[in-house]
């Protein structure tokens, strides 16, 4: 029996959804990638549960061992983020029936923190409190983006221990793993600009201008991953996944595919693999049922999938990389910690 057939049988037996984003010649590469990442920790994400509401899920990076860890028919949940040690999950919880807007979710609903397997969920604040909360490197504090400014909150006492001007940052604030930087989306010279802020001095620099959002940190704290819908495309265009150094000097595409909007960019803890979602509609699909979560090797970037003739013209050196297409979801994150899920 071929490796591919064996993998397919295993997938069917365990209920895994594992479909390569690129068919044909890419199948073998995708199968190899699945084998490579299968044992590397857990992916946490939000998806529609059987009850129809948004719940939180865990799965292995090859799509196996998928399980619903909140299963709350009376709430919608989204935006999960593992703590730096992988022991806890921070997320937001909304009243049942709330449409999760891809740009507003961070300041809506309640901030929740649970163990990484979803157990012991605790409500940290009331509705709209602790907006856009993001873990500190030691997991003892959170940074929040409020109208007044960026607030660093001690989780044990709930006290604001420091406040900085937000300098035009208006959503998706994330604290770097080394604690020295914030990244976020700002009105700089123009709106939808990804910026980096020095936590100590508050100094701000532009990372990438024009239709760029949802930034996140590489584990090295020196690079930032973000979706971007560049100018010069026909019509509305498609959102691609990009990366840049924190100074904004070396921006480059990671993955693009005409016909799909790429969002939810995140890295494996060692920066070797990239997570993203691949959605036919702009926004990432949070208003609906999400989009397929994909995994790719960073060493295969820049990559382009599908015919994408216009995109290939702009990036002639891009590869046809193996991409794992997993379950539908939204805003995935990755930990190598092995405490993610109960058997």
């Amino acid at each position: 029996m071929s490796t591919k057939r064996m993998l397919l049988l295993v997938a069917l037996a365990t209920g895994i959804i594992l479909v390569p984003a690129v068919s044909g010649a890419q199948d073998e590469g995708a199968a190899q990638l699945a084998k490579e990442v299968g044992g590397k920790g857990w992916i946490g994400y939000a998806a529609r549960g059987e009850n129809g509401t948004w719940d939180l899920f865990l799965m292995r990076p090859d799509g196996s061992q998928r399980r619903n860890i909140t299963n709350t028919p009376d709430y919608e949940e989204g935006g999960p983020r593992f703590s730096p040690d992988g022991q806890r999950l921070l997320y937001r919880r909304f009243p049942k029936g709330t449409v999760i807007h891809h740009d507003r979710w961070g300041f809506q609903g309640d901030l929740m923190i649970a163990r990484a397997d979803g157990s012991e969920p605790k409500q940290i604040g009331g509705d709209r409190e602790y907006p856009w909360a993001s873990w500190s490197p030691d997991g003892k504090q959170i940074a929040c983006l409020t109208m007044k400014g960026i607030q660093i909150v001690d989780l044990e006492t709930k006290k604001v221990v420091r406040e900085l001007p937000r300098k035009g940052i208006y959503q998706q604030l994330f604290w770097s793993p080394d604690g020295q930087w914030f990244c976020g989306v700002a009105n700089a010279r123009i709106m939808w600009t990804v910026v980096r802020m020095n936590v100590e001095t508050g100094e701000l620099n532009i990372v990438h201008e024009f239709q760029s959002c949802t930034p996140d940190w590489f584990g090295d704290s020196k690079h930032i991953i973000y979706p971007c819908r560049p100018a010069g495309q026909n019509g509305y265009g498609f959102t691609q996944l990009w990366m840049s150094d924190g100074g904004g000097k070396e921006a480059r595409m990671i993955y693009g595919e005409d016909g799909f909007h790429i969002y939810g960019g995140a890295l494996s803890p060692d920066d070797r693999y990239v997570l993203f979602t691949r959605c036919g509609a702009d926004g990432g699909g949070s208003e609906d049922s999400g989009a397929p979560i994909c995994v790719m090797r960073m060493s295969d970037a820049p990559a382009i999938a599908g015919p994408s003739p216009a995109l290939r013209k702009v990036h002639p050196d891009a590869k046809d990389a193996p991409v794992l297409q997993l379950a539908d979801g939204w805003e995935p994150c990755w930990t190598y910690a092995e405490t993610g899920a109960k058997e």
Binding site: H101, H102, D103, R104, F107, Q108, L145, T146, M147, K148, R166, G168, Y170, Q171, N187, R189, I190, M191, W192, D282, G283
Partner: protein, 164 residues
């Protein structure tokens, strides 16, 4: 605002009841057209209240339900009703300006409204404002005056149409 609405020279042979009816209708019609924009919201919300003429809208107003933003527009201040405005020209950010003010409030911006249906250069608005915009609104801002004007950007809380 002075309202000029007179029926000065009517034909002598028209009977008085008809003249009275016409005068009443004309008066009512004139009263409908003239509107200072004052109402319970615009006169109480925000910390500043002005009547101002919309002088310029730079760039196109984007009508994209996927994204929220404020668009900065240039106004000439005609009258300050409340608060302090030191300049004749002010720059005002209107939230999702492609939408009528009456229905523009949403999950991001809840305390906002007015009766303006469409932003048109030359129109006069009575506005309840706050300043600076960043203290009252956290979202994307289209500011085509960036780098050209250092004045603070006002945030439009309530925007009513003024007719003369």
């Amino acid at each position: 605002m002075k309202l000029i609405c007179r029926n000065a020279s009517m034909p002598y042979r028209m009977n008085l009841p008809l003249i009275a009816l016409l005068a009443l209708l004309l008066s009512a019609s004139c009263a409908k057209k003239a509107d200072t924009g004052a109402d319970a919201d615009v006169t109480t919300r925000g910390s500043i209240e002005v009547t101002a003429r919309l002088e310029e809208i730079r760039g196109d107003l984007i009508d994209d339900p996927m994204y929220d933003y404020a668009h900065v527009m240039k106004y000439k201040v005609l009258q300050v009703h409340r608060g302090q405005v030191d300049t004749e020209t002010i720059y005002v950010g209107h939230y999702n300006p492609a939408e009528p003010r009456a229905g523009v409030a949403d999950a991001r911006v809840q305390e906002i409204g007015g009766n303006v249906r469409q932003f048109r250069v030359g129109d006069t608005h009575r506005m309840a404002l706050e300043v600076p915009i960043d203290d009252h609104y956290m979202g994307g801002i289209i500011n085509k005056y960036f780098g050209e004007v250092d004045d603070p950007i006002y945030w439009a809380v309530w925007t009513n149409r003024v007719t003369q």
